[in-house]
Every structure is written in structure tokens, then in C-alpha cells.
């Protein structure tokens, strides 16, 4: 049934809009399948690194950043003529620092990052539905305040590709990522005396085709899948994969539908946000990809027999989802995106705001992990 829904929506988009819109929807679905089958989440990986000093997921994320950079830099550096792709370059300023810090707290309390929230909702996790709802509210409220935050000091845009050229920029960024990889590896080895293998299969009792369709996937498959789908997004949409703009858009549309006047807010009153607000939500690339991601994850969860697991939501979990969702939405808007639109797309585009996001988001996550213990979501670390 989920597969039929995917095909029906895809055909509708093809008929009503353009082939590109249909393709982006299917790419979103591919991302959803990849995220769910590989269980590729940023929030859980960071939490495991902070609490247990296990770095498997963090190392996979670093590999993803590296592979994405390798695929993006030549394209964004205009090595290939005729491809018009825009980098995700944003100012390195206080709004990113504060927004990513808030987002880092939110992703631990809410139980998911931008991509994690969507694919777990697709997987039928009811608690994450609450997180998503408040994620949307947080993003909408932040869009009302954004002009104030953006007036805070900033160094402006700092692009490695613009400064060095794509080749040297890729080398420099690659060295930084290798150094980061070595650090998290050392942290794990120091605590445990060993390192969990990154490429080990989660289960090895079924064949390649079965695993490809039914999951689970090793993290490496997730890294490759996410990087390739992100490249396809860049080539087809003309911009890297992004998630959270759509949340603010949905919120602003709902606010307008119930009598509010979001169109008069500075953020929604001009430029692409104004256009997006006035058009069909289906005309927005990011919304389409988000819908595809949710349905793709639902398909993967159904194939794996994991849809709507038997989660009994406790009160603490509900409160954390509400607070976490609000922080996620508000932080993402301030920081020019979430772990995908700002961290992955930013670093993949050679923008220094992505690196600032990584630092501030991780510090926020450290705070969030401690708050989880205080809110009785996790036991105290050993």
C-alpha cells in the first residue's frame, strides 16, 4: 500500500508539475529507505559518543561528510560546465552558534535530528510525531523572530571553495575530517581499549538482495546511499538536500489558514519564502522531498516488519518531545538549517558555517544528554 501511495504521488507530481518534482519526491523516498534501513541517525550517534564513548555512528557521519565533499566540491567548483548547482553557504555568525546549540539540546530531548525525526515518523514512532509537530511550531515561531536574530554580529559567508579553489579546499577539508576521525577513534580506544568495527553487518543471515530490500543495512551502505542521493538532489534540484525550511513553511501555511498573517512577517514577505508561501506546498522542493522521505521510511519499515512499534509513551517522554521539538525547530531556523541543511550541506559545500554548526550542535548535545538524565529519560552514565 505504501508503495502504491509512493507511485501515485509520483505520477501526480509528474502530471501536475514537472518531471523534476516527481524525481525529487522519489529521491526523498530513497533517502527515507536509506535512513531507516541503515538506522542512520545523528542524535543517537552523538549520544552514544558522549555517554558511552562509542564512535561507530560518529565515524560513519564523518565518512558521510567526506564522501559528500568529494562528490560536491568538483560540481560546486564548476569543474563540469553546464551544471548549475548552488552551494549552501551561509554567514558564520551568532545566529548559527546559538541556533545550532539550541538544536543540539533539542535533538537529544526530542529523540531525533532533522532527518531522524522524519524517518522515525515514517517508521510509525508516535513519540516522534509529537516531536515533529512541535518542530514545526518551533520553526514557525523562529521565522517570526528571525530578522532580530540575523541582526546579530556575523563574519559573513566564508567559503573554502571560493577562497582556495575546489581542489585545495577538498584537500584541506579532507585533512580536517581525517583529524576528526582520528580524535573520535582515540576517544573510543582510550575508554574501551578497542574499537567497534564500522563496516560490520548488523545481521549476516540473509543474502544481499534480501538485505537490500528488507534491511537492516550496514552503516557503510547508509553512508553511500545518503551521499549519492544528496548528489542527485544537488544535480536535479540545483541545491543540496535540505529539510527544515519546509517545517516553517507548513507552520506558516497552517497559521495563515486559521486566520493568522504569516505573509506579513519579514521572513515570509519577500523572496523565495514569500513565493513558497503563496504557492502549493507541492511546488516546494523541500516539502516534496520531506513527504517522500516519510513515505520511503514507511515503506522500508513495512518491508522490515517494523512499522509502528509497540512504544508506550511515558509522560517524561512526551514532555521531552514537546520541549525538544520546539528547540529543534527554533534552532534550525536560526542556524540556517538542521544537521542536513546546515551541517551536511554546509560542510559538503565548503562553508565554514557548517563547521561552526558542528561544534555548537555537539556542545548543545552534551547539554542535552545531561538533561535527558535529569528528566529520567536515560540512566546516569557509568
Amino acid at each position: 500500500m505504501t508503495l502504491l501511495a509512493l507511485l501515485a504521488v509520483s505520477l501526480f507530481l509528474q502530471d501536475e508539475f514537472q518531471t523534476r518534482q516527481s524525481l525529487l519526491f522519489l529521491i526523498g523516498a530513497g533517502l527515507g529507505v536509506t535512513l531507516l534501513h541503515a538506522t542512520f541517525g545523528f542524535a543517537g550517534g552523538w549520544r552514544r559518543l558522549i555517554r558511552e564513548r562509542r564512535s561507530t555512528s560518529a565515524r560513519a557521519q564523518i565518512l558521510l561528510l567526506g564522501l559528500t565533499s568529494m562528490l560536491f566540491f568538483p560540481v560546486l567548483g564548476q569543474l563540469f560546465s553546464g551544471i548549475n548547482a548552488q552551494a549552501a553557504v551561509a554567514p558564520v555568525g551568532l545566529s548559527v552558534l546559538i541556533g545550532a546549540f539550541i538544536f543540539g539540546i533539542g535533538m537529544q530531548l526530542g529523540g531525533g535530528c532533522g532527518s531522524g525525526t522524519l524517518f522515525t515518523v515514517g517508521g510509525g514512532h508516535v513519540a516522534m510525531l509529537v516531536t515533529l509537530l512541535f518542530f514545526v511550531i518551533g520553526a514557525t515561531v523562529a521565522s517570526a523572530h528571525l530578522h532580530w536574530w540575523l541582526a546579530l554580529p556575523s563574519f559573513g559567508k566564508l567559503s573554502l571553495i571560493s577562497a582556495l579553489g575546489w581542489g585545495p579546499a577538498l584537500l584541506a577539508q579532507g585533512l580536517c575530517l581525517i583529524a576528526l576521525y582520528a580524535v573520535v577513534l582515540a576517544v573510543e580506544r582510550q575508554r574501551h581499549g578497542n574499537v567497534e568495527p564500522l563496516f560490520a553487518a548488523k545481521t549476516a543471515d540473509n543474502g544481499f538482495t534480501d538485505r537490500l530490500i528488507l534491511g537492516p543495512w550496514p552503516l557503510l551502505w547508509g553512508v553511500i546511499g545518503l551521499a549519492v542521493f544528496n548528489l542527485l538532489t544537488l544535480l536535479i534540484a540545483g541545491h543540496p538536500w535540505s529539510i527544515t525550511f519546509a517545517f516553517g513553511l507548513w507552520g506558516a501555511k497552517i497559521w495563515s489558514a486559521i486566520g493568522g498573517d504569516a505573509a506579513s512577517w519579514p521572513y515570509w514577505s519577500s523572496g523565495y519564502p514569500a513565493v513558497a508561501l503563496s504557492r502549493s506546498v507541492l511546488a516546494d522542493n523541500i516539502s516534496i522531498m520531506d513527504f517522500g522521505l516519510i513515505l520511503g521510511a514507511a515503506l522500508a519499515a513495512a518491508l522490515a516488519g517494523k512499522f509502528a512499534p509497540e512504544d508506550r509513551i511515558k509522560r517524561e517522554r512526551l514532555v521531552a518531545s514537546i520541549i525538544g521539538g520546539l528547540l529543534l525547530g527554533y534552532g534550525a531556523r536560526l542556524a540556517f538549517g538542521c544537521n542536513i541543511g546546515a551541517l551536511l550541506a554546509g560542510i559538503g559545500s565548503g562553508s565554514m558555517h557548517g563547521w561552526l554548526w558542528l561544534l555548537a550542535g555537539f556542545i548543545g548535545s552534551v547539554v542535552g544528554v545531561r538533561l535527558r538524565v535529569r528528566m529520567h529519560l536515560d540512566p546516569p552514565p557509568r
Binding site: D15, E16, F17, Q18, R20, Q21, Q78, N84, Q86, A87, A88, V89, A90, P91, G93, G124, V126, L129, L146, L150, S154, K157, S162, A237, G238, H239, P240, S242, F245, G248, L249, K253, P266, Y267, W268, S270, G271, Y272, P273, V275, A276, S278, R279, S280, V281, L282, A283, D284, N285, I286, F307, P309, E310, D311, R312, G341, A342, A345, G346, H353
Partner: protein, 138 residues
């Protein structure tokens, strides 16, 4: 009722609500479009967003010309790349005839020209071109 069954019910309700939201929003937009010319096939709605639409939203505001004025799409990135006015006219809902495929920009276009929007845009294009000259085009 089992927890699993209840959870599935909640998810189904959420999906239905989401579908209603999308359907209402899309039909509102459809109604706002001019009627198709008699005898001609109904044109497709051009979709997408200009340039880094995602980051229009995510990076745009404050990154370029539009920062102070409420956030202009990928203004910052426009400024970074030596794009001419053509893509922008295709990209912001102004049906100037530049197709998104030709320009490589996602178009925010409806199917009819919008003179009001275009008037607003022209000031922006001027600023944008200035940025493209003074900023750092690769």
C-alpha cells in the same frame, strides 16, 4: 486496544490529516491560477525554488541582498555565483519565458506573468548584480 493497534491508529490519523492539509493547500493554489485558455491543454505548474531554494530558506536570509529586507531566497548564493538576471526571472514566479530547465533554476512560477512581482523584482536584480560584481564570484 493494544498499544501497537493504538499507535497505528494515531499514525493513520496523522497521515489523513497531513493529506487533507496538502490537498486543501494545493486546491487553494489551483483556484488562484487563471483559467486555462479554451481549447488548450492545461499547462503544468512550474515548481521548485530558485537556486538553493532549500537554503533560500535555510541560508538565504541575511546572506545577501535580501538579508535586511526580509530574506531573499538564495540571495547570498546568487551573489556568490555569477548569475545573470535571466535565472532570477525564471526563478521567482515571474513568467518571463525562461524555462527552469533552460536556466537550471527551479522556477517559482505560476503560468502567468505577474507584473506586480516583476516590479518588485527589478530592484532586487539590480542589487543582486551589484553583489555579484562586488562579492566574490567563483
Amino acid at each position: 486496544m493494544s498499544v501497537k493497534r493504538r499507535n497505528r491508529g494515531i499514525m493513520a490519523a496523522a497521515i489523513v490529516l497531513g493529506a487533507i492539509f496538502v490537498a486543501l493547500d494545493h486546491s487553494r493554489f489551483r483556484r488562484s491560477l487563471p483559467a486555462p485558455v479554451a481549447g488548450e491543454a492545461e499547462p503544468q505548474i512550474e515548481a521548485g525554488g530558485y537556486g538553493s531554494a532549500a537554503d533560500d530558506a535555510d541560508t538565504s536570509v541575511a546572506t545577501g541582498a535580501g538579508a535586511e529586507t526580509g530574506g531573499y531566497g538564495a540571495a547570498g548564493d546568487d551573489a556568490d555565483t555569477p548569475v545573470g538576471p535571466g535565472p532570477e526571472t525564471g526563478g521567482y514566479g515571474v513568467a518571463t519565458g525562461a524555462s527552469p530547465d533552460e536556466t537550471g533554476q527551479g522556477a517559482a512560477a505560476t503560468t502567468t506573468p505577474d507584473e506586480d512581482v516583476r516590479g518588485d523584482m527589478e530592484e532586487y536584480y539590480k542589487r543582486l548584480q551589484l553583489d555579484a560584481e562586488t562579492d566574490d564570484p567563483r
